[in-house]
Amino acid sequence: MPENGYTSDEMMTISAARMLRNGTVCFVGIGLPSAAANLARLTHAPDVVLIYESGPIGTKPAVLPLSIGDGELAETADTIVPLGEIFSYWLTGGRIDIGFLGGAQIDRFANLNTTVIGDYRKPTVRLPGAGGAPEIATSAKEVLITLRQTKRAFVEKVDFVTSAGYLDGGDARKRMGFPGQGPTAVITDLGILTPDPATKELRLTSIHPGVAVEQVIASTGWPLKVAPQLAVTEAPSAPELGMLRELNQRTARAHAGQA
């Protein structure tokens, strides 16, 4: 833990949580997005509607789920709908304000890869695959992405486009006629990247306190551009940190000691 009392992972989750506005309808991916979305619900966005692809709508878990369909999500939901319905009526039907995604690999135009590293037919690493992400990426009105920033994860071009960001950049996405506008922010443990309005290339627009610009550039697999008005992310507040740590502690207790 750094001297100022929080970790880079905590900074990432807290700054990702802040992006979620109260009252919005959010389709949540498992892992880091799920932590951020629930932290938002427990802090500044009590009326955010969280939807998971297993079918729970308006879920309010007390502990973070390990899987996308833990009983905790089902038991605290307003309703649970079948899978055919969650993807058709709710997601591709156009009911989702924010899709919140993670990923193994992201490129300069915010395309995500969760399928393979290397060649598809002879992969170096076989990853889990698409799940619900391709439709979240194209049908949600807006997409937020959160993952840790390393040179291996932030690449010039993804080996496989699992979920479309801005494809080759510019107006490519608009030409393809996707319903949603695409990723508006990528929140990492080092800073926040947002797409250039014209080229759609991700650039560094906010840097977390205590992080050097050179460090972010060195952790990016393409020549990362830095916005002229580079902001410094506000450090985590005591209530934000307290709530996140309580959530993580409750979760760790709940997931241990059953087997």
């Binding site: 996308i68 076989r126 799940g131």
Partner: protein, 272 residues
């Protein structure tokens, strides 16, 4: 009811995963199966690692919240214990394909697979133009398993089945299949199901079998919760071929049924 070479779907989306039935397929040493499942989960890792499958149709193949399915990866990356062909979709596509199967339609239609590379590698994902608006939509062939197997909470003595909670694509998988098998937590005199509950009438189900705890280590809402600690342990159990085989021999192929499997796990835990 499961034969060598069959197309088999064991469904249950994180919830009500039919582990007991899957173990029985392994014990009977079925071979050359085409396995269908949106999220292969640990049970397909076990089936694949045991050499039961020659093809997998899926949309997300990981150990949820933990990492890789090592046996699935070993089959795809190294052809161990046998080559495994894969047909890969996403969740929206597979859910649509099951619904098309249940509806006895040739294909399902969705506003999906936009911008993803999946259609480049899966020739069964096609695009068609809407005859009314011109919109480009994805078309996926219906899923029609020879056998579908699901686990549910309850059945009555006549064989009507009731499930609730995360119900996934279980109903569609049963209705899309030529033969349907259901295991349940308990058989009761009366279901007392609300009129809009998810009920599979007895006449669409070929066989119902009571297996208490039959979804372990997944969960059955109202009965027991997901054993997340076991999901984490599976990462180690399955990582190496030898360790996986020893575990399967000791706890699955070396036991006569699911109850004996659970007892053999408890013996290990009590000596730990």
């Amino acid at each position: 009811m499961v034969h060598d070479g069959d197309v088999v779907a064991l469904e249950g989306f994180t919830h009500l995963i039919p582990f007991a039935a899957g173990h029985e397929v392994i014990r009977q040493r079925r071979r050359n199966l085409t396995l269908i499942r949106m999220t292969p989960d640990l049970i397909y890792d076990q089936l694949i690692g045991s050499g039961c499958a020659s093809k997998l149709i899926f949309s997300w193949g990981g150990n949820p919240g933990v990492g890789s399915l090592h046996r699935l990866r070993d089959a795809v990356e190294n052809n161990w214990p046998a080559p495994l062909a894969i047909e890969e979709h996403d969740h929206a596509g597979m859910a649509t394909a099951y619904a098309a199967g249940a509806a006895n339609l040739p294909f399902g239609l969705l506003r999906g697979y936009l911008g993803t590379d999946l259609p480049k590698y899966n020739q069964r994902i096609k695009f068609i133009e809407c005859p009314f608006t011109g919109e480009r939509l994805a078309a996926i062939p219906a899923i029609r398993p020879d056998v579908s197997i699901v686990h549910a909470q309850k059945a009555d003595r006549r064989g009507n089945v009731l499930m609730w909670g995360v119900v996934g694509v279980q109903k569609e998988a049963i209705l899309a299949a030529r033969r349907a098998i259901v295991t349940v937590e308990e058989i009761v005199d009366r279901l007392d199901a609300p009129s809009n509950a998810v009920v599979l009438p007895s006449w669409v189900v070929g066989a119902v079998s009571e297996v208490k705890g039959g979804a372990f280590p997944s969960y059955a809402q109202g009965y027991y919760s997901r054993n997340n600690a076991f999901y984490k342990q599976w990462d180690n159990i399955s990582r190496e071929r030898e360790g996986f085989q020893a575990w399967m021999q000791r706890h699955v192929t070396g036991t006569k049924d699911f109850e004996a499997f659970r007892q053999s796990l408890e013996q290990v835990a009590s000596h730990a």
